[in-house]
Structure formats: C-alpha cells, structure tokens
C-alpha cells in the first residue's frame, strides 16, 4: 500500500465544491466499518428501486 506517498495538491475548483460537502453524513459513515458502509449502500439501493417501482406504478395508474 503506497498511498501515503501520494500528495494531492489543492485544486481551486474542487475547493469551491468542498464548501457544500455535508460532513455530518460523512462523519456518520466514518464510524462504520467498510462492510457496514457497503451494506448501507445496498439498503439505499433497495429503497431507490422500491421508490422507482412505486412511482412507475402510480404514474401508470394515472394514465
């Protein structure tokens, strides 16, 4: 693992974007293990799929 040798120079455009990063969400994620973070992603995907399905059905019902 050689990552510690990589230096990331500040980029002015990215610095602007950093101001809008919600660190409260990130801090919650950093409390989790890698596996817990991925499991959370799966749960979110399931929610998204279910919402898409429900929205499709509701939209079709109106047509």
């Amino acid at each position: 693992m050689k990552d510690k040798t990589i230096k990331i120079e500040p980029d002015p455009v990215i610095e602007v974007y950093k101001k809008d990063v919600d660190m409260t969400l990130i801090d919650e994620n950093l409390k989790l293990s890698v596996e817990e973070r991925l499991r959370k992603l799966f749960r979110m995907q399931e929610l998204i799929e279910e919402l898409r399905r429900a929205t499709r059905e509701a939209t079709n019902d109106r047509l």
Partner: protein
C-alpha cells in the same frame, strides 16, 4: 439493482485479479453518495482473462445499453481484443476496466490498493488518495462533487494534508 456481494464473490472465488474502483470504492472510504454499478480494473494476462470469463459467464454479461440481438459473446477472445466493457449481468451493472485514466492497469493500481475483507471475502480496493487522483484525471464534471467529498474524507483522516 446490483448484487455487489455475489458479483464480488464470483470474482474472488474464481481467482480473478481485480481492484474495486469508482463509486463502490468511494462508499467504502466513507462517501455518502450512492452508485448503481460496480467498477473493477482487472488484470489483462491471458490466464486472468480466462478466469474472469469463467467466473462471470454464468451471469450472462451483455453490453449495457446495446440493443438486444447484437453478436456479442462474452468470451476470452472478446475480452482480449477489447479493453473496457460496460456490461449488464444477471447480478446488475458491471464495468470491467482493463485500464483507467490516471491510474493505468491492474498491476499499476495494485500497489495503491487496500486489502479488505467484506462479506467474508478478501478483495482489493483502490486507496483513497489514488482514487482521488484517478477521479481528478478523468476530468468529468459529474465527479467534482464526489472528489470534493473524498478530499474532505482524506482531510478528516490526515488533518495536516
């Protein structure tokens, strides 16, 4: 929906050499953003391509977004003659990358990867700093928010950087 667990399990159990990159790697590092596909950089040796094809063939890989009926066959010849493939499988979308901008090949990325155990399997995940470099090098406007988030995560871990 992507069944990351089973896709990764197939690759690992099949002895495929690969590094997880992209959105899943970002989530693993703490990103709060969501993603819908699995991106992996795979080794281009003929033996690894053979293992890759054998591992993934049961999932019926097909070119994502392509019309049905194209003469696409996921076999060693196709993978050898190509490089990067955006696929749909029975387990969800999968991007197989022979090389990535700013990161290069599997062999070039491996020294910058972390070995993690997830779902009882051991796989390589691209390290945070290298992931940032690769996303910067890709130069895609859609990555700007993601890069900003990853850099904030890096700053949390290393306040002096």
């Amino acid at each position: 929906m992507t069944d990351y667990k089973n896709l990764l399990t197939l690759l690992v159990r099949g002895g495929v050499q690969f590094v997880v990159v992209g959105g899943v790697a970002a989530v693993a590092h703490g990103s709060a953003r969501t993603t819908e596909d699995l991106d992996v950089v795979y080794g281009r040796s003929s033996s690894n391509i053979k293992r890759l094809v054998e591992a993934l063939s049961p999932t019926n890989p097909y070119l994502r977004g392509a019309p049905p009926g194209l003469p696409f066959k996921f076999d060693e010849k196709t993978v050898t003659n190509g490089l990067n493939f955006t696929l749909i499988t029975n387990l969800g979308p999968l991007d197989l990358l022979g090389e990535i901008t700013g990161g290069g090949s599997y062999e070039q990325l491996l020294p910058y990867s972390l070995k993690v155990v997830i779902f009882g399997i051991e796989c390589h995940l691209l390290g945070l700093e290298r992931l940032i470099q690769v996303k910067r090098a890709a130069g895609r406007p859609k990555d700007l928010e993601s890069i900003a988030e990853l850099e904030k995560i890096m700053e949390r871990a290393n306040p002096t950087k």
